[in-house]
């Protein structure tokens, strides 16, 4: 132990430093946790649907009490569609087409049957589907049909089924594990198809098949059936956002769009995280204040020793060093423990997030590491400068 340290550690108040240590630890931990959590959770809300661009909007008519009782149709007429097409904000308009025949589907994962139901398909023009056409094509009569499933199916499966049947959880990369068998009968025909799951969509809450398959199968299995589309998809020119909102309101249409919901959620998430980080920063700031007070008090109590050291030839830098190392040591300790605590807590919450949203990639602790180092450097630099100035003031007191 150096003699200088032996001298200068006199009057160190352990309680004060322990107080600083824990206060700073809490502050640092809260700040890092807030930031890391934000970075981990944000992709859940902002992850883009790979099948639909963000400026696509799905429109439907409101289903109110009136229409249920009167039996008024909620389908769009050709006039209404034509009117919509004329609007400046609507760059592209497409119709949802539904199957006019019955579909029986069996869905299984890895050989285990999990869904067995009569259902229906819908299609939208291919130009609205944002995947390479070769994956999204259908030759009339072929056995294999590409399909896109709503993501909620997968969440339902991962949570409800996989958990209780100890089956593997499905993520985007594992769509190949899904067996999707389709039986269609109508118009005296009966045929079996194999659905090839291309992926999951957050925004299309229906089972989507290529338009080509829809046109062919409707003509083949239900040549007489025809119904007006109940939903439209349109591309909105973002610069005319206001216009579109007004038009949609005036017409009493409903926008089936979780984008707004997502924005609200991310807004609140951001606000909450900011608040939490702010509290953490305040705690950190106060702890920094405690540390500075402790150090100042220590320097004050040891002023005579410090002055003597300076007078026998020690440089201010050398005299300041023990206290600077002391604070840096404390800061390093705080940072390491905060990281460690965060590591365990993150392991816990990431487990939950990954179960909820298997498609989210695990992420890293990089944000917390970067922010932690940043805070550490900032605080340490302030400490070093403050201590140095204090020692210089002792040097100058004789002037």
């Amino acid at each position: 132990m150096s003699l200088v340290w032996k001298l200068l550690k006199q009057h160190i108040n352990v309680a004060q430093f322990v107080g600083f240590f824990f206060a700073n630890l809490f502050g640092m931990f809260i700040v890092l946790l807030g930031y890391q959590f934000y970075e981990d959770v944000m992709p859940v809300f902002t992850s883009q649907d790979s099948f639909m661009r963000n400026d696509y909007v799905i429109l439907s008519k409101k289903i109110g009490m009136g229409s249920t009782v009167s039996g008024r149709s909620n389908a769009f007429t050709n006039d209404e569609i034509g009117d919509l097409k004329r609007q400046v904000f609507a760059t592209k308009v497409g119709k949802f087409t539904s199957t006019e025949y019955k579909v029986d589907a069996h869905m299984g994962i890895n050989g285990t049957e999990i869904l067995n139901s009569e259902l229906f398909f819908e299609s939208i023009p291919d130009e609205f589907i944002d995947i390479p056409l070769k994956n999204w094509s259908y030759k009339p009569g072929a056995r294999e049909v590409p399909i896109i499933l709503p993501r909620s199916y997968i969440a339902m499966y991962n949570f409800g089924f996989a958990q209780s049947h100890s089956l593997p959880k499905i993520s985007d990369g594992l769509v190949g594990m899904i067996d999707f068998n389709i039986y269609i009968h109508g118009n005296g025909h009966q045929q079996q198809f194999v659905g090839k799951v291309i992926g999951f969509s957050n925004r299309l809450s229906t089972i989507v098949v290529p338009q080509a398959f829809m046109d062919w199968s409707n003509a083949y299995f239900a040549p007489d059936g025809h119904s007006d589309p109940t939903r439209l998809i349109l591309q909105v020119d973002n610069s005319a956002d206001q216009l579109s909102t007004k038009y949609i309101d005036r017409k009493g249409y409903e926008v089936e769009n979780d984008q707004l919901q997502t924005e609200k959620t991310t807004y609140f998430l951001r606000m909450m995280v900011s608040l939490v980080m702010f509290v953490g920063l305040i705690i950190s700031l106060l702890s920094f204040y405690i540390l500075m007070l402790s150090i100042y008090l220590l320097v004050q109590k040891n002023a005579e020793k410090l002055e003597n050291l300076l007078l026998i030839g020690y440089s201010p830098g050398r005299v300041a060093a023990p206290y600077q190392w002391l604070t840096i040591g404390l800061n390093v300790g705080v940072l390491l423990i905060a990281w460690l605590a965060l590591f365990f807590l993150r392991g816990y919450y990431m487990n939950i997030i990954e179960t909820l949203f298997p498609e989210i990639d695990g992420g890293t602790m990089f944000p917390a590491i970067i922010l932690g180092i940043g805070l550490f450097v900032l605080v340490s630099v302030f400490n070093i400068i403050a201590i140095r100035r204090k020692i210089i003031s002792i040097w100058k007191r004789k002037e």
């Binding site: 003699l3 032996k6 001298l7 006199q10 003597n308 007078l311 030839g313 210089i392 040097w395 004789k398």
Partner: protein, 214 residues
């Protein structure tokens, strides 16, 4: 460095006194390396003030302190650190020892900085000055006379061109003063250094080149 020169230096506290009768204040006086000086004065004449101007921990004066013809007022912190470490050794009147450290540690804390003397040499001095048994004693528990000897040893464990000893023997008996004078002069000669002693009457019997009245 070779010289310390004081040109018209007057401490600010004396600025109002017109009848300043001194051979140092408000004079032009030069201290040369290799010479031995005795500065005599009654208390309150500014002996410690004089020392503090030369090693730069007080600057409250009019006039100029020239160290090797350079104005000391222009010195930076690092210049003073270098001066105190390598060029001017100061034996403080108030000693400025560290009571929590042992006698040996008090010397060692300086020697660690300069790496100038061996442990054996330091112990030999302790022995010579009859305080070898106090090596590991806390300085705070030693008498002032013993502390003065420790402080002197500490003043010697650095290279210097000038040794500034402020009332070094105020609490020593004659034989110890004599011993101290011998060691001090031996070391100063070895380094070819100048020696400036202050005294309020009692002083080490040395061959002074010049005696000045403050």
């Amino acid at each position: 460095m070779n010289s310390i020169r004081l040109v018209s230096v007057v401490p600010q506290v004396f600025a109002q006194q017109n009848n300043l009768d001194s051979e140092i204040w408000n004079q032009d006086i030069k201290f040369e390396k290799g010479q031995v000086y005795l500065i005599e004065a009654d208390s309150g004449k500014g002996k410690s003030t004089f020392c503090s101007y030369i090693v730069g921990y007080r600057h409250d004066y009019a006039g100029k302190v020239l160290i090797d013809d350079q104005n000391a007022l222009n010195f930076k912190v690092q210049d003073w650190v270098d001066l105190r470490q390598n060029h001017i050794s100061h034996l403080f009147q108030e000693l400025r020892l560290f009571p929590e450290l042992t006698a040996f540690e008090n010397v060692e804390i300086k020697n660690k900085l300069t790496n100038f003397k061996s442990e054996a040499q330091i112990k030999e001095w302790f022995d010579h000055l009859d305080i070898a048994d106090k090596l590991d004693a806390k300085v705070g528990r030693m008498s002032f006379g013993q502390q003065q000897r420790v402080a002197m040893i500490r003043a010697l464990v650095q290279p210097f061109e000038f040794l500034l000893a402020d009332e070094p023997i105020s609490h020593l008996d004659d034989s110890n003063s004599q011993l101290m004078g011998e060691i001090l002069m031996e070391e100063a000669k070895a380094q070819g250094a100048g020696v400036i002693l202050t005294s309020i009457g009692k002083h080490i019997a040395l061959n002074y080149d010049k005696t000045l009245r403050l």
